[in-house]
C-alpha cells in the first residue's frame, strides 16, 4: 500500500516538504544575519487550491532533475518545486545592504515549526485511523 495514493497523505507530505524547505531558507537567513549584501529569502505560501487540484488528479508537473553526478541545484540550493517570494523590505536594510531582521526570522521559524507539529500530528492521527480499521477492537 502506498500512503501517497491517499490524497490526504499526499497533501500532508507535500505540506511537510514545503515547511522543511522554508525552515531551511530561514536558517540560511539567520546564518547570514551579518553577511554584507545578503537579502532575506522566503517561500511563497503553499497554495491550498493547487494542492487540492494536484491531489485530485495525477500530478504531471515537470521539474528539472539532476541526471548526472556533476549537477547541483541552483544558486541558493532552492528546489524548484516551491516558489521563492521576493522580499524587498527596504526599511530594514542596513548600511552593508543586509536586510535580515533576526526577530522576524525567529518568528517565522517558530510559526513554521508549529505548523510542522500540526501536520505531523495530523499525519499520526490519520495513520491511527487506518490502524484502527485494520484491527478493529473486539
Amino acid at each position: 500500500m502506498n500512503l501517497n495514493e491517499i490524497p490526504l497523505f499526499r497533501m500532508m507530505s507535500q505540506k511537510m516538504e514545503w515547511l522543511s524547505e522554508r525552515q531551511r531558507l530561514l536558517s540560511h537567513n539567520v546564518a547570514n544575519a551579518n553577511t554584507p549584501g545578503y537579502k532575506s529569502q522566503d517561500l511563497k505560501p503553499l497554495d491550498f487550491a493547487s494542492l487540492v487540484r494536484s491531489s485530485a488528479g495525477r500530478n504531471g508537473r515537470q521539474t528539472t532533475r539532476a541526471t548526472q553526478a556533476g549537477h547541483f541545484s541552483g544558486s541558493a540550493g532552492v528546489s524548484n518545486k516551491f516558489k521563492l517570494k521576493a522580499d524587498n523590505q527596504k526599511s530594514a536594510e542596513s548600511m552593508t545592504g543586509n536586510n535580515i531582521v533576526l526577530e522576524e526570522e525567529m518568528m517565522k521559524v517558530a510559526q513554521t515549526s508549529m505548523e510542522y507539529q500540526l501536520t505531523t500530528n495530523l499525519y499520526r492521527k490519520h495513520l491511527a485511523i487506518i490502524r484502527a480499521a485494520l484491527n478493529p477492537p473486539r
Binding site: 511537510m16 524547505e21 540560511h28 546564518a31 544575519a33 551579518n34 553577511t35 515549526s113 507539529q117
Partner: protein, 135 residues
C-alpha cells in the same frame, strides 16, 4: 534531506559568529597595546566580513569568513613623555580600538550565535517529530 541541511547551515552560522567573537576578543585584549618604539605602529583594529560559499557536497550555501581586514581609521594620541614609544613631542600613538564599539559587536555576535542555536534546536525538534510518526 532539508532538515539535516539546516543543521549544517546553522552550524556554519555559529562558526562565523564564533570567529567574529575571537576577533572582538583580540581587539579588546589589545586595546592598550601602544607602540613600543617612536616609529612603530600600535595595534591596529581588525575587522571581519562574511560571505556565502556553495558547499558542493551538501548542495547548500554555507556562510563563511570572507576576510579579516584591518581598520584603516586613525590611531589615537596620548601625551606620555616617559613612554618608550613617545615621539619628540612626547606623544604616544594608541590603538584605534573603541571598547564600546567592540562591546556592541560582541553583543551582536552573541545574538547571532543564539539565534543559530535555537534554529538548530527547532530543526532537531522537527526531525524528532517526523521520526515520531513511526510510533
Amino acid at each position: 534531506m532539508d532538515l539535516t541541511k539546516i543543521l549544517h547551515t546553522s552550524a556554519a552560522g555559529m562558526h562565523v559568529q564564533g570567529e567574529r567573537m575571537r576577533i572582538v576578543a583580540e581587539n579588546l585584549a589589545n586595546a592598550g597595546s601602544a607602540a613600543n618604539t617612536p616609529d612603530a605602529e600600535p595595534y591596529r583594529r581588525k575587522l571581519i566580513t562574511f560571505s556565502n560559499e556553495l558547499d558542493r557536497e551538501l548542495g547548500v550555501q554555507l556562510v563563511e569568513v570572507a576576510k579579516v581586514t584591518f581598520d584603516k581609521s586613525e590611531f589615537g594620541r596620548k601625551y606620555d613623555p616617559g613612554h618608550p614609544g613617545a615621539n619628540d613631542q612626547g606623544y604616544v600613538l594608541t590603538p584605534n580600538v573603541n571598547s564600546l564599539i567592540e562591546m556592541t559587536d560582541m553583543r551582536e555576535a552573541q545574538r547571532g550565535y543564539e539565534a543559530n542555536l535555537s534554529i538548530i534546536s527547532v530543526a532537531k525538534d522537527m526531525l524528532k517529530r517526523t521520526i515520531d510518526i513511526l510510533n
